[in-house]
């Protein structure tokens, strides 16, 4: 067991100029064989490993990562956490995740700064208003704490909002999840990594999977840039790179990889204390604890593996936010970046067994999987450990594309973050 983090350990270490802190995780060399190997040390992969060890006592396992852990989309998202989705299967998994976030810092003994500051989804057309009303009814009966709020309440919650009733898209109300919010994205990856490492999981960075070995219909190992690793269970959790990895096992995926961008402003003193999403005009914004306004853009409409997007996908968002929050006009953009998101045909994730025995896949989170990390790891670990879909994972199987059993969230909200 690692020494715990606390204000006392901080004080104790300060006495010695912090020279005695232990490593948050080891840098192990790969063993020749594991009981299971997770490919991809993003939030989903690390959470899967953590729960495999914690809930299923599988500790002879590894996570292999081609770069640095948490460096994929987990390290570059706008950190919105909410569970007020429309479709039942979505509500189930996102709410499981959100509720795990509530005490994740304590569970991991790592402050992931889950900040339930509230998520406001604006209604700017009658149609949108009705769509959110529907979601509100569905969510209430599913047991979520969410409600519609009036334009006056919106103004109270977000004083900097443009409440001019004559503007291009006046605010007719909003759908509010008070216990949605944000989290510190990097810390989620780091906390899970530290937690998994403490239970013996090998997290192997700079180790790219280059081949999947099969014996007939069963996986038997992985080829990596750090050698061959034998294993009978592989969980592929590589987000934007899932098609290329699954291709190594001959499994073709219903996925396209596109670039999704985000940007931050220069840090300023607090001006907005919740997450605001304006779907009609395609913009959303929150403010980080450090003071930057965190803004998400759109995806480029073509496949892209470069982690560099095109400017128009951000431009419209910025114009929309200048209109929604006029004071930002004189603030400045500090940095923009992109991530490679894995888009499925129905914009819902895949948590599934595959036609190859021992090969499992968790992907398709696209533009909105940060919020799902704890829940996804929980049910995927269960699926891998028991070799059958966890009930919450079941609707997200690959077979849905063949049966037409799509889980289409875009019907409720154009932006699915």
């Amino acid at each position: 067991m690692k020494p715990r983090y606390s204000v006392f350990s901080l004080a104790r270490n300060a006495m010695n100029y912090h020279k005695d802190w232990e490593r948050a995780w080891r840098s192990p060399t790969p063993k020749p064989e594991y009981d299971a190997v997770i490919v991809g040390a993003g939030g989903h992969g690390l959470a899967t490993a953590y729960y495999l060890a914690k809930n299923h006592k599988m500790t002879n396992i590894a996570v292999v990562e081609k770069g640095w852990l948490g460096g994929g989309n987990t390290g570059r998202n706008t950190t919105i956490i909410r569970s007020n989705y429309l479709q039942d299967p979505s509500i189930a998994i996102y709410e499981l995740a959100r509720s795990l976030y509530e005490d994740l810092s304590q569970d991991l003994n790592y402050n992931v700064m889950f900040s339930p500051r509230g998520v406001l989804m604006l209604c700017q057309t009658q149609h949108e208003f009705r769509a959110f009303q529907r979601t509100a009814h569905a969510n209430r009966l599913a047991g979520l704490d969410c409600r519609m709020v009036t334009p006056q309440e919106v103004k109270e919650i977000v004083p900097i909002i443009n409440d001019d009733p004559n503007c291009r898209y006046p605010i007719l109300g909003a759908y509010y999840q008070p216990r949605g919010g944000t989290g510190r994205h990097d810390a989620v990856a780091w906390g899970y990594a530290r937690g998994a490492d403490a239970m013996g999981v090998d997290i192997i960075q700079n180790c790219e999977v280059t081949g999947i070995q099969r014996d007939g219909g069963q996986v038997v190992g992985l080829e990596t840039t750090r050698g061959v690793i034998r294993t009978k269970k592989i969980g592929v959790v590589t987000a934007g790179n899932v098609s290329t990895v699954m291709d190594m096992a001959g499994v073709r995926m219903p996925i396209e990889s596109q670039c999704l961008q985000a940007l931050v402003s220069e840090p300023i003193k607090p001006v907005i204390d919740c997450v605001v999403m304006a779907n009609t005009v395609h913009g959303y914004m929150s403010q980080s604890d450090k003071g930057e306004l965190v803004i998400g853009g759109g995806t480029d409409p073509y496949n892209n593996y470069s982690q560099r997007g095109s400017f128009p996908a951000l431009e419209h968002t910025v114009a929309a936010l200048v209109e929604t929050f006029p004071i930002i006009s004189r603030l400045r953009m500090l940095r923009m970046w992109g991530g490679i998101v894995d888009m499925t045909g129905d914009r819902s994730p895949i948590i599934s067994k595959t036609p190859v025995d021992g090969l499992f896949v968790n992907c398709g989170w696209g533009t909105g999987g940060f919020k799902a990390i704890p829940g996804s790891g929980w049910v995927f670990a269960d699926t891998i450990a028991n070799d059958r879909p966890h009930p919450i994972a079941e609707p997200f199987g690959l077979n849905r594309f063949q049966e037409g059993r799509l889980i289409d969230e875009s019907v409720a909200a154009a932006v699915a973050h």
């Binding site: 640095w68 390290g75 209430r140 003071g291 953009m333 037409g404 059993r405 019907v411």
Partner: protein, 1002 residues
């Protein structure tokens, strides 16, 4: 430092004849025209400009231009306030109000500075280790506290009064940077006939030339720059942009330039000149001449006001006639910084040099010794001491040094009030890297240099790691000539410059206590990241440079590590036993320096934010009190309340008018697409679920369209104009989408079809005249136009003249009443509309809006795609099985309908609902549950898709998609509403009014 530090002479940029006054934190400061806030405030004797992010340490000016990371200020008042600006870049003007940031209550006494005292408890990443208990404290106590303490400046108050714009430009050659390299390259390219744009972020061209020493063709560098600049300004094929920062480089040489058009002159703003202009440049070739950025050397307390870059110190003297202090130490590992010593000495300022190298025998060091400057080689500054509060430097500690030495054994104190440091120069390769240019580490420079790039971009001059003047010119002129026009290479002028000896890397100087034992060696000044923080991150396993960056926030401040990146890598390399290239560099991302959101929005704000589409009747609707509803980009009249009516009342009045007399609706937004060709009928059979090849000429048919997934995507009435010619109506939102959809299938899948499609939506104004008296109104308008039931039965079409108006008349109905849709060319639309209103007056005609339309159709059980359907709904789900052809072999979506789930028995099906209490109107989107429980979760079986109070029936009606609904006719289901109320409703047929359709065929 407190006395004024304006030198009696000098200052190339300032006009001593013109005094300019402004305020800094409310105190009036007077400088000269051409001063920056930094130079003017320094000249006034003040060194502290702000407080640092985490520890609230006092901070002063370090740099000379855009690399500044410390002296951040806010400028302007109220809605015109702009935070976080670099004082070194802000040109002063009369009346400017500048303020310092991140301090309370005042700059010299800041409560937040207690963080400094506790800094030992706040190492990099400390917050991940604490603030976890009790759980609820994060949101309510810790986080609000952290948030208030963090952030830098304050946001402006209110809406920005200024304007912004953008422009697109194409050029043969874009030269980024107007230093020696950029100027020479632009001149060569222009001479070869290329269309050239050259942009520099500064008000003056010349880059660092004016403080670099040397001569070109016998001209001093400032003279040469001015002369070359003047030629470029005068050239026909060159566009010169000053005060313009190139913020980013994207795919295929798309480059964005941020021009600060009016920030320096409020008179321009008041004339209405756009404040900022964003240039979107597509360049055939890009020449990167962005120069280099000097790097600091870390030592204990190196962040104290008065510690600055060597180039900044000499820039202050030469450009503004401002002394950085009265007695300084130049701390260097290279020859270039000796120029600073020479300049200081020349200006009568006390100076000595501390050089970390064992030997310094180049031309410049020798010259320095010659004129009597004390040079200590093999020495470093190990620390500076300050007066109380850290506001002023009192002395520096100097120690002897050998490369790799860990701790200082012996140090001497020297009085000094400022330090000018130089750790070498880093090529500014940010833009090179934005779009994936490769770089490599140059051991001699101890810096990264451009290597190769897949776009057409070359780097020259200091940006390419080339520092000798002759080499810079050769590179520049070759690049400029070769990339452009004739390709003729121009002669390279002769240049002279003192030659320089190599530098020796040093990232931080040792001190008596090591940097990780409580001494603060700042690497990233703005985010208060010290060498110890970087080392701790390594030790804790955050080994990747990207981890270290995110764990410590190194390089993440508003300067994006311009001066600190390589130093940080150097520290990490030493801590981890790797080389700098092994450590690697973090990703460069746009923008080069922060730029305004206003410029990104450009003119697209307020009423230009997104286009509003208007029908020809728009102004009439406005004049008649319409409440509008956005439908796509259209604004449609929702209802027309009058005499203090509520929306509800006016909607009811409009509905009853249609049911009992006649109503008039502006339906111009409906899509209208002409489709013609020998294969048109067969093509429509592919597009629609139902059959169109059997439709007779002059007849109308309602059609359904699915996407390939089998879900409803649009509907509308299509009329056959002649054997090979159809006119299709789509929903208002569907016009462009569906016409593109038709084209797509014709062009990509059924290329053999001979069919043309033309979208004529906007050519026509189209109105529905609906109600039992509709015919009478039209007859009154033109008694000769035969629209009798016999001549024009339901679902038929006629073209002709209604009075003077050319019209197409469709006998179709979305209200269930006798109804005509009349279309006339849009420029006649308003005329016909007003005529109909006039003719209808005696029949009680009322214009009605979209909401009345929706209630009317719901009373008849007609669906609206988008209300009854949500993108996962099939035609079968909404009970339109009859419109899904069994005969046609193939049409869009057909195959998908056969998928297991789309045929499943328990799918939700469209039904009508009548609430038990007729006064209960079910909310839109309310869900029915299998069984009501006292608290959630409850299992849901379907949802209301449309719900209204029907004035016609005097009760509520609704439609809903309910699991297996069509087999549940008569069953009563329950809708638990917010607040605990449960509404019960009986499942019925969806048609609530005139089931047999008697009203239609009259």
């Amino acid at each position: 430092m407190s006395k004024p530090y304006r030198l009696s002479t000098g200052g190339r940029f300032v006009d001593r004849a013109k005094k300019v006054s402004f305020t800094f934190d409310g105190k009036t400061v007077t400088g000269f025209q051409g001063d920056t806030v930094a130079s003017a405030v320094l000249a006034s004797g003040q060194r502290v400009f702000g407080r640092s992010f985490k520890y609230h340490r006092p901070r002063g000016v370090v740099g000379l231009g855009s690399e500044e990371m410390n002296a951040l200020i806010g400028v302007g008042l109220g809605a015109r306030h702009e935070p976080n600006l670099r004082a070194t870049q802000i040109e002063i003007f009369n009346g400017m109000a500048a303020v310092s940031q991140n301090r309370w209550p005042s700059l010299t006494f800041d409560i937040g500075a207690v963080n400094n005292a506790f800094s030992r408890f706040l190492p990099g990443g400390f917050y991940y280790k604490t603030f976890m208990w009790p759980q609820s404290f994060w949101k309510h106590v810790y986080e609000p506290f952290i948030r208030r303490a963090a952030g830098l400046g304050k946001a402006p108050e209110g809406r920005d009064p200024d304007t912004y714009e953008q422009i697109h430009v194409h050029c043969d050659v874009l030269v980024i940077g107007g230093g020696v390299a950029g100027l020479a390259a632009a001149e060569a390219a222009a001479a070869n006939g290329a269309k050239v744009i050259i942009a520099d972020e500064n008000p003056h061209l010349g880059g660092l030339a004016d403080i670099s020493g040397g001569a070109i063709d016998g001209q001093s560098l400032p003279d040469w720059s001015a002369a070359t600049g003047a030629k470029l300004y005068a050239a026909e094929n060159v566009h010169v942009l000053n005060r313009t920062t190139v913020v980013g480089h994207w795919h295929h040489n798309f480059v964005m330039l941020f021009e600060r058009v009016a920030d320096h002159d409020p008179a321009l703003l008041s004339q209405g000149v756009p404040r900022h202009r964003l240039w979107k440049v597509r360049a055939h070739q890009v020449i990167l001449a962005t120069g280099s950025i000097e790097r600091p050397i870390a030592f204990a307390n190196n962040d104290r006001p008065g510690v600055m870059l060597a180039s900044a110190a000499r820039g202050m003297v030469e450009r503004y006639g401002v002394a950085p202090g009265s007695n300084g130490v130049v701390f260097t590992n290279n020859d270039d910084a000796y120029q600073t010593a020479l300049v200081l000495k020349d200006a009568g300022i006390g100076v000595r040099v501390v050089d970390s190298r064992g030997r310094a025998e180049g031309a410049l060091p020798n010259k320095a010794r010659e004129i009597g400057i004390q040079v200590d080689t093999g020495s470093v500054i190990s620390a500076v001491n300050t007066s109380w509060g850290g506001l002023n430097i009192t002395d520096v500690k100097i120690a002897s040094y050998r490369r790799g030495q860990g701790r200082v054994i012996k140090e001497t104190k020297a009085e000094a009030d400022f330090v000018a440091m130089s750790g070498g120069w880093n090529p500014a390769l940010h833009l090179w890297c934005h779009n994936g240019g490769r770089i490599h580490f140059d051991d001699k420079l101890q810096a990264f240099r451009p290597k190769e790039h897949h776009d057409r971009i070359v780097a020259i001059g200091a940006a390419n790691g080339t520092f000798g003047l002759s080499q810079i010119l050769t590179e520049a002129i070759h690049a400029g000539s070769k990339l452009a026009g004739s390709g003729k290479v121009h002669p390279v002028p002769a240049a002279v410059q003192a030659d320089e000896r190599p530098l020796e890397p040093i990232w931080f100087a040792p001190a008596t206590a090591k940097y990780n034992e409580g001494n603060k060696h700042f690497i990233d000044y703005q985010n208060d990241v010290t060498a110890a923080d970087l080392e701790l991150a390594q030790r804790e396993g955050y080994e990747s440079v990207e981890h270290t960056k995110r764990y410590t926030t190194f390089g993440m401040a508003t300067d994006q590590g311009k001066t600190s990146n390589i130093n940080g890598l150097g520290v990490i390399a030493e801590a981890s036993g790797k080389t700098i290239p092994e450590v690697g560099i973090t990703t460069f991302r746009p923008p080069y320096t922060p730029f305004s959101f206003g410029s990104v929005a450009g003119v697209l704000t307020k009423d230009l934010f997104l286009p509003i589409r208007r029908t020809a009747i728009y102004q009439w609707h406005v004049d008649h009190g319409a409440v509008f509803e956005p439908v796509g980009q259209w604004r449609r009249a929702y209802t027309y309340p009058r005499n203090g009516e509520t929306n509800h009342q006016s909607i009811d009045r409009e509905i009853l008018a249609v049911r009992n007399a006649v109503g008039l609706l502006d339906a111009s937004t409906l899509g209208k697409i002409e489709i013609k060709g020998p294969d048109a009928a067969e093509f429509l059979d592919r597009m629609y679920t139902n059959m169109f090849s059997t439709l007779k000429t002059a007849k109308c048919r309602y059609g359904l369209m699915m996407n390939e997934l089998g879900f409803l995507s649009d509907d509308g009435v299509t009329v056959r104009l002649s054997d090979d010619h159809f006119l299709m109506h789509t929903t208002s939102g569907g016009a462009d989408r569906i016409s593109a959809w038709l084209e797509e299938w014709l062009q990509t899948e059924w290329t053999q079809y001979r069919v043309f499609v033309t979208n004529v939506t906007e050519n026509w104004s189209q109105f529905a005249i609906a109600g039992p008296k509709a015919r009478e109104v039209l007859q009154k308008l033109d008694p000769t136009f035969d629209i009798s039931n016999a001549a024009l039965p339901h679902m038929s079409f006629v073209e002709g003249r209604l009075g003077a108006y050319p019209v197409r008349v469709y006998r179709i109905s979305f209200s269930g009443e006798l109804s005509y849709e009349v279309a006339t060319p849009a420029n006649y639309g308003l005329g016909l509309w007003t005529d109909i209103v006039a003719a209808g007056a005696e029949f009680g005609i009322e214009p009605y809006g979209t909401e009345a339309l929706h209630v009317l159709r719901a009373e008849k059980g007609y669906i609206v795609v988008g209300d009854e359907t949500d993108g996962t709904t099939t035609p079968i789900d909404v009970g339109l099985d009859g419109l899904v052809s069994k005969k046609k072999a193939d049409f869009l979506g057909k195959r998908s309908l056969e998928q297991e789930h789309l045929k499943a028995p328990n799918r939700k099906q469209l039904v009508g609902l009548l609430t038990e209490d007729p006064n209960d109107v079910l909310p839109d989107g309310a869900y029915a549950v299998r069984q009501v429980k006292d608290k959630p979760p409850m299992e849901m079986i379907g949802q209301v898709t449309s719900s209204y109070r029907s004035p016609t029936l005097g009760r509520s009606i609704a439609m809903a998609l309910i699991e297996n609904g069509r087999n549940r006719m008569g069953e009563t289901i329950s809708f638990p509403l917010p607040g605990g109320k449960v509404v019960r409703a009986r499942i019925t047929d969806t048609v609530f009014y005139d089931k047999e359709g008697a009203k239609l065929n009259v």
